[in-house]
Amino acid sequence: MTATTTGVGPARTGPARSGVPAGLRRLAPRPALLAASTAAVAVALVPLVYLGVRTAEAGADRIAAELWTSRVGLLALRSLALAAVVTAACVLIGVGAAWLVTRTDLPGRRLFAVLAALPLAVPTYIAAFAWVSTVDRLEGFWPAALVLTLCSYPYVFLPVAAALHGADPAQEEVSRSLGRGGWRTFTDVTLRQIRPATAAGALLVALYVLSDFGAVSILRADTFTRAIFIAFDLGFDRTGALVLSCVLVALTVLLLGGETLTRRRGARYARLGGARRPPLRLRLGAARWPALAALVGVAALALGVPAVSLARRLAAGVSRPGALTEVLAAAGNSLTFSLAGAALTMLLALPLGLLTARAPGPLATALDRLAYLAHALPGVVIGLSLIFFGITVAYPLYQTRWLLALAYATLFLPLAVGAVAGAAGQAPPGLEEVARSLGRGPWTVLRTVTLPLTLPGIGAGAALVFLTGMKELPATLLLRPTGTDTLATELWTNTAVGAYAAAAPYAALLVAISAVPTWLLVARSGLLEKEDRR
């Protein structure tokens, strides 16, 4: 989850600016960048601050009355249990699949690398819709756990596979040479090498489950997000919705804090120079059949069920006339909303990404963490607080696409910051210094060196934010201008009334579009590289 940067040449120790006291300069290098970053994080935290203010207005008695009920306790337990079950299952499937495709001679492993990552393209509400329309009366805790696991294990698979792919095989060889067998080397060395990646992936899954709205709603599993939405949508029970949101935020902070603690204890795993060698692959022998069967089974459940279900519904035909124009209109709205969201997000992410890459320090880290806090908030909570914000503070924005864009910016800022920071690493300060020493002024250096090297990465980040915005459901449901529908909201509306055939075209189009960034992620992870360079 942290952006790593590579640098050429000596570390920058804060460019001297005459007139700025030395102490201040050390504390806050790059004042302009810092100011812009602070502003960006402030914008991203608007919903959170607003949530706190509005909840406090309700008064302590009212809050206590809403809070100390057996229902809240039950919701909390069920949400946490769901997060725990799904996270454990995702770690098991994700690490197992990653190990099989990177470290064994499994036949067709590059195909399986793609198949294992592809469920990322299936929004949970589409998967839930596919299962509900395939299996009658599927609802409750365990079906929700199944669907969420199948949709979110790639969050563990991708980082762990990348870590296994990049891990230094020399460490394993040393372990073998010191007399540890294959299995003990795996548990004592390999698993420890990939622990940071596993922990980061598990955190993403847990946060994702806590904030998921689509699957738990369609599968009628009572969790916080569903309860918040019902409280707000049915009863306009604002205080109840606000208090429930605050509890959800508290759970999220708890998770983030726990992850930070484990991270502090974990060491950084550096590679000590030298060229990368492909790791030795384990010969599976007869064990490759059960391994293949397991991977095929996961792919069939995660991809096959939605694909078959969507295909059947599509083949049944779109029943109403004029449906095609509606689908296209919804697709158009999805595109413009996501475009506005991506533009605003990148605008806010640029200074923060550059700050974390070029002037790392406690301040940059703190700002980065705060941005993650907003990212971890469920879309329902973001949507709800922005509605109140729009009504009372920024009325001109209310019911416009810009309030929705603000929600997207809040939700996806860390994705964009990571992309910008990674891209900035592609143009290390050393390169810019060389360019300046060859007599080129700052603007020429920006135009001829920095931009050509960073634009691809920044563009990929923008594409990721854009397409994640297309998939987003709860905030879009709450904040879209009245009467305007997107692919996601049309799908949700149709499923809610059981019109599965009408929902299918929206679902198919969404999955097709979402497959693009997923492919991008797999390709960038290096898993598809030709491995035989000997």
Partner: protein
């Protein structure tokens, strides 16, 4: 060709003083090596010269024109001082020719200068390659060609050979030395490798904790080091406590003549291992020693010896033939004069050498 001068250059990072008043002259058309252990401030010095850092005090002049100091700070791109960083730092999105032509203006880029400097570094015909298609050594050559192309006042080389393996390094540094000389460029090479500094530079400046401790030709720095620390840093050194009297010092290796003057009294004497010779027993002035260790280096060997009073010394033996058996007693004598400095007040140790 340009002469570069530094006076009283000070650079601090918070509480850390990286440069504590550096005075230095870089003669035009020559290659000057700035030699020092890790953390001595040599990279900071280079960054100040290039204009990447502002001075806290002092002045830098290029051909008499002040580029830094006294409230002036000419930005890096107006200094005409080109750098060759440690890892080369080629622009990964540009071809070799475009990298080399980066510092040239539009008309010059189409001229012959690009091919000319590529030929100088031995890479004629490589213009269309991309940086990732080159080996590490080739990338460094391109980085040097890129720095030379705009005919800068000064070329700064920041440990440009440290990432390469030993065999490649020796060849490359002499090729690059030749390229700089052929182009008439003035160069400053920053390095912690004393062999590199002594073998390629016209002048060597030894830097320690942000100060210049000695500047001179390579042979001056090796033969007449300014103090025992420099003696040990630029080469193998046998340092012996002794008492000087009338230009001679009584040492465990015998009574040695001292080159240069030193006041009578307790001194520290420097003998280079190549001055310590194994001689037939009974030679005049020879002392007995026991062989402790024999390190074979191919062209020569270093023999560790213990003298009768327990002092340990090292002798460099040329064309060793058969190794001297460990434990054998031999006779050793010192050829030539030794250097000596008044001994430090008791308890003050010679500064430790950090190699990094």
């Amino acid at each position: 060709m340009s002469e570069v001068g530094l006076t009283g250059v000070v650079k601090r990072y918070g509480a850390v003083t990286a440069l504590a008043g550096v005075d230095l002259t870089v003669p035009a058309g020559a290659l000057t090596a700035v030699l020092g252990p890790s953390g001595c401030g040599k990279t900071t010095l280079l960054r100040c010269l290039a204009g990447f850092e502002r001075l806290d005090a002092g002045e830098i002049r290029v051909d008499g024109r002040t580029v830094a100091g006294g409230g002036r700070h000419v930005p890096a791109h107006r200094r005409r001082i080109a750098v060759v960083p440690q890892e080369g730092a080629l622009f990964p999105h540009l071809s070799v020719a475009a990298n080399v032509g980066y510092g040239l203006d539009r008309s010059a880029r189409r001229g012959e200068r690009v091919d000319e400097v590529l030929a100088l570094v031995g890479l004629a015909g490589y213009g269309d390659r991309m940086p990732h298609q080159l080996s590490g050594g080739q990338q460094q050559r391109v980085a040097v060609a890129r720095a030379l192309a705009p005919r800068p006042s000064l070329v700064l080389l920041d440990e440009p050979f440290s990432a390469l393996d030993a065999g490649l390094r020796a060849g490359l540094r002499h090729d690059i030395r030749a390229a700089l000389r052929a182009d008439g460029a003035t160069g400053v090479l920053v390095t912690h490798d004393q062999g590199e500094a002594l073998s390629v530079a016209d002048r060597v400046v030894v830097l320690r904790t942000g100060r210049v401790v000695q500047a001179g030709t390579p042979s001056e720095v090796y033969r007449e080091p300014a103090d025992p620390w420099v003696a040990g840093f630029v080469g193998e050194a046998v340092l012996l406590p002794a008492v000087a009297e009338a230009g001679r010092a009584a040492t465990p290796l015998g009574l040695l003549p001292i080159a240069g003057g030193v006041p009578d009294g307790p001194v520290t004497v420097l003998v280079r291992p190549e001055q310590v010779r194994v001689v037939p027993g009974g030679s005049s002035g020879a002392v007995a020693a026991t062989v402790l260790r024999h390190d074979f280096h191919g062209h020569d060997a270093l023999v560790a010896l213990r003298l009768a009073d327990g002092t340990r010394v090292t002798a460099r033996v040329w064309d060793p033939g058969e190794p001297v058996p460990v434990g054998v007693e031999v006779a050793v004598a010192v050829a030539g004069a030794a250097r000596a400095w008044p001994a430090q007040p008791s308890g003050a140790p010679v500064p430790a050498v950090m190699i990094g």
